[in-house]
């Protein structure tokens, strides 16, 4: 039972880490970023490269500094496109460009901070080893969620963001909606890359991973109801439960489980599990 819980928790964390940033960007700015996975992977690559070279604290600080420079670049890039199809085209190109650059900059090896994280040791829960790194990563993800929560529900900016995410035209009457969208792109990209860095404590980064990550993020986004952060968290939990159960009881289905979840949720609730209301037209 403990083991099943750990499995659930780890996969849940995994899904949250890949999807929260995308949910935020899509929710507020309606930017469908096909290069999303590449930013996640970039965070992992950078954190590993810098932390192994500079040591944990300076490395982490250097990573954060480099990551903070990313969002403006992405923002400028997205600004060049005029409509959703161009956005799709351009972010697909960006995915390819980043994959190519990863190879030139980082080579073809595996990048991971798992050894560093393993150095933290493990707690004994019910006779089973649960690495402290898992708790630490959980705290990091929860901290980020809390930041988003405070931002969205306790600040004026957040109020605008929610308004824009609910109804753009309505919000356009009272809110400077472009500014809010720009800010959310900034935050979403930064969070994505940061979570990629956090995930380096349990996974390895290699070439070709960007596209794999993208699908998980997409699935959580759609199941959760497009850009609703709580919905995305609930979706991650749902998929993690389903996946853990499948591996425990009928492992043949693991490959399918996330797609079946997408199909089932969209058939039952086309808007995802956490839509506040159905949009007319």
């Amino acid at each position: 039972m403990i083991n099943a819980l750990v499995a659930f928790y780890a996969f849940f964390l995994n899904l949250l880490a890949v999807s929260i940033g995308m949910a935020f960007i899509y929710g507020v700015a309606r930017v469908l970023n096909l290069a999303h996975g590449a930013f996640f992977v970039l965070g992992g690559y950078l954190a590993t490269a810098l932390i192994t070279r500079l040591g944990p604290v300076p490395g982490a600080l250097a990573t954060a500094a480099v990551l903070a420079a990313l969002p403006p670049l992405f923002y400028l890039y997205v600004r060049l496109t005029r409509n959703e199809l161009e956005q799709l085209f351009a972010t697909y190109a960006l995915l390819l460009l980043m994959e190519g650059l990863f190879k030139l900059v980082f080579g073809y090896g595996n990048y991971t901070l798992a050894d560093l994280a393993a150095g933290l040791g493990a707690a004994s829960v019910g006779g089973q080893r649960v690495p402290y790194a898992y708790f630490l990563a959980g705290v990091a993800v929860a901290g980020l969620m809390a930041t988003f929560y405070l931002l969205l529900y306790k600040t004026r900016l957040g109020l605008y963001m929610r308004a824009v995410s609910d109804d753009r035209e309505m919000a356009a009457l009272g809110v400077r909606s472009p500014l809010v969208q720009h800010l959310s792109i900034f935050l979403g990209i930064f969070a994505t890359a940061l979570l990629g860095a956090v995930a380096a404590t349990w996974q390895a980064y290699t070439l070709g991973l960007s596209a794999e990550v993208l699908i998980y993020a997409f699935a959580a986004l759609v199941i959760g109801g497009l850009g609703n952060i709580w919905g995305t968290a609930a979706a991650s939990a749902l998929v993690a439960v389903a996946r853990t159960a499948v591996v425990m009881f009928y492992p043949e289905l693991e490959l399918l489980v996330i797609y079946i979840a997408v199909i089932a949720v969209l058939l039952i609730r086309p808007g995802g599990i956490f839509t506040r209301y159905a949009r007319v037209a």
């Binding site: 496109t81 351009a90 697909y92 190109a93 650059l101 699908i215 699935a219 997408v262």
Partner: protein, 295 residues
């Protein structure tokens, strides 16, 4: 009129390519013409504002129609292959169209992606029947008693490409295309004008799937092989990108030229240390050029 002239000119060029081209060029030409049918399908749905990241599902259905018929029944008859591919891909398109017509935008893209990935998983799981991830051998097809050689395949590809150019011309003038524009631009209004939008989308999805299925069948013929990779979402992604590329080009040959341009760039890129960088830059350059000309 210009449209029909383009079709005739295209046939002329294809004839020149066959008469004067080397084996590789002839192969690539046939490959591109076959693949362009799948691009046509993706492009058709784009007209409705639908980005289908699962069009590869239909593409795979077409390819496996030939692979499975040959593997289990020894049937290499091209007419039977086409018939099976059309029926199976049409059904697949209708089914996925009916299911996914309820949603739009990202949900539509993802629902179709999920459907095609389920097909992908089935092709992988039932390996005793489907050959699993290794795929299936597809022989040179036969037309009644005659085996289609390179020329036969080339003619088939040319026939498909020109037939679909013609279909594209007919479609672009049709009521269905008008409605597609309406659905893309203002769905509420089209619905308030009496259109059963979901039914239109399901029909378009079936047509797009038949097109993609025949494309998959054709590519399986020219490469002698079909694999679950056809149904993988990355294949759909390539088709969607080629369709977006085709949207930059004029009718009726835009889809063939878009397919050719994408495949040329992709195949050319394989000689570089970082092919992705090359393809990415090429795509961006295309977007930039288009923007420059359409200022």
């Amino acid at each position: 009129m210009r449209g029909w002239l383009s079709v005739v000119a295209f046939i002329g060029v294809a004839a020149v390519v066959f008469a004067a081209g080397g084996d590789y060029l002839k192969f690539v030409a046939a490959y591109v013409m076959m693949w362009s049918l799948a691009v046509w399908g993706a492009q058709l749905l784009l007209r409705y504002g639908l980005v289908n990241f699962g069009i590869g599902g239909a593409y795979a259905v077409g390819g496996y129609a030939a692979g499975l018929l040959y593997r289990h029944f020894g049937i290499a008859e091209v007419t039977l292959h086409i018939l099976t591919a059309v029926v199976a891909a049409g059904l697949w398109g209708l089914l996925s169209g009916v299911v996914s017509a309820r949603v739009r935008g990202v949900q539509y893209a993802l629902l179709n992606l999920a459907l095609s990935m389920v097909l992908y998983s089935i092709l992988l799981k039932f390996y005793w029947a489907t050959g699993g991830s290794d795929g299936l051998y597809v022989p040179l097809p036969r037309f009644f008693d005659a085996s289609l050689g390179d020329l036969g395949l080339y003619l088939l590809a040319l026939f498909f490409a020109t037939a679909w150019m013609t279909l594209g011309l007919v479609y672009s003038q049709s009521a269905a295309a008008r409605l597609a524009d309406g659905v893309r631009i203002n769905e509420l209004r089209v619905s308030a004008l009496g259109a059963h939008i979901n039914r239109q989308i399901a029909a378009a999805s079936a047509l797009a799937s038949v097109s993609a299925g025949l494309g998959g069948l054709g590519v399986a013929y020219v490469t002698s092989h079909v694999s679950p990779h056809y149904a993988h979402w990355s294949t759909s992604g390539e088709l969607v990108v080629a369709a977006l590329l085709s949207n930059f080009l004029p009718q009726p040959w835009g889809f063939v030229a878009g397919a050719a341009a994408y495949q040329a760039v992709r195949l050319f890129s394989l000689q570089f240390v970082t092919p992705e960088l090359f393809v990415g830059v090429a795509l961006l350059a295309t977007l930039g050029l288009w923007r420059y000309y359409r200022r």
